[in-house]
């Protein structure tokens, strides 16, 4: 903690740049998935930034606990980042978009796509993408369990 602001050190400036740039792509795919026109969606730069800051603190704590012998699996890192991306108030839908009943899944789909594209780097079956998004959006989810789910997806039997 410094000056009242939590600071991590696990996400380098370059890592953050790629995560932020990729988030916009993920949000575009999420809107397409629920058939919502892009003009109806906006994202809070502040909340997105703060979500990454929070994930950074989580990751820095895990790195310091496990180093130098143990690492953190890509799935666990994805779980932490996806959880934070789902919890901060990032995505906002305008009044005309409120008639689309599936908009509640957009931010969670964007969170899943964001970590899938850059960290998991593997295909997730369609039904499981929707189930994880629903779980994140409407039921209980946490970083640890999400991480285990993502690890299982990465390490699925060939």
């Amino acid at each position: 903690m410094s000056g009242g602001v939590l600071q991590g050190k696990a996400l380098s400036s370059r890592t953050r740049h790629h995560l932020l740039n990729n988030y916009a792509t993920s949000l575009i795919y999420a809107c397409s998935t629920v058939k919502l026109g892009f003009p109806h969606a906006s994202y809070s730069e502040r909340e997105l930034r703060l979500a990454l800051d929070e994930a950074d603190v989580d990751l820095a704590a895990m790195f310091s606990r496990r180093r130098p012998v143990n690492g953190i699996s890509a799935g666990k890192i994805a779980g932490i980042i996806a959880f934070r991306l789902s919890r901060f108030k990032i995505v906002h839908i305008d009044e005309d978009g409120q008639n689309q009943p599936l908009i509640y899944l957009i931010q969670d789909l964007a969170a899943i796509f964001a970590v899938q594209f850059l960290l998991l780097r593997t295909k997730i079956p369609e039904l499981q993408v929707l189930e994880i998004a629903y779980q994140l959006s409407r039921r209980h989810a946490n970083q640890e369990t999400l991480g285990l789910v993502f690890d299982t997806i990465i390490n699925k039997p060939v």
């Binding site: 696990a10 370059r14 890592t15 995560l19 397409s32 790195f63 180093r67 699996s73 929707l130």
Partner: protein
């Protein structure tokens, strides 16, 4: 594992018990999965590759549409 009656009535046994617990006899189990990313630099190397875009994104939308229509 000392019996409580012994500890309650014998300060020497109690002191021995405290010494055992406070010493190296019992130590935290270390679970060593020994996998994964160890440094921010390794994380950066993974994240900064070309994004993986799966080929079933449209199928997710179609399935969602089908599920909601049912």
């Amino acid at each position: 594992m000392p019996n409580l009656a012994l500890i309650a009535n014998d300060p020497v046994e109690r002191a021995k018990s405290v010494e055992r617990m406070n010493g190296p006899l019992y130590s935290r189990e270390k679970i060593n999965f020994n996998h994964g990313i160890r440094t921010p630099e390794e994380l950066e190397a993974l994240v900064c590759q070309e994004p993986f875009i799966p080929d079933n994104l449209e199928a997710i939308g179609s399935l969602l549409e089908k599920i909601t229509a049912e």
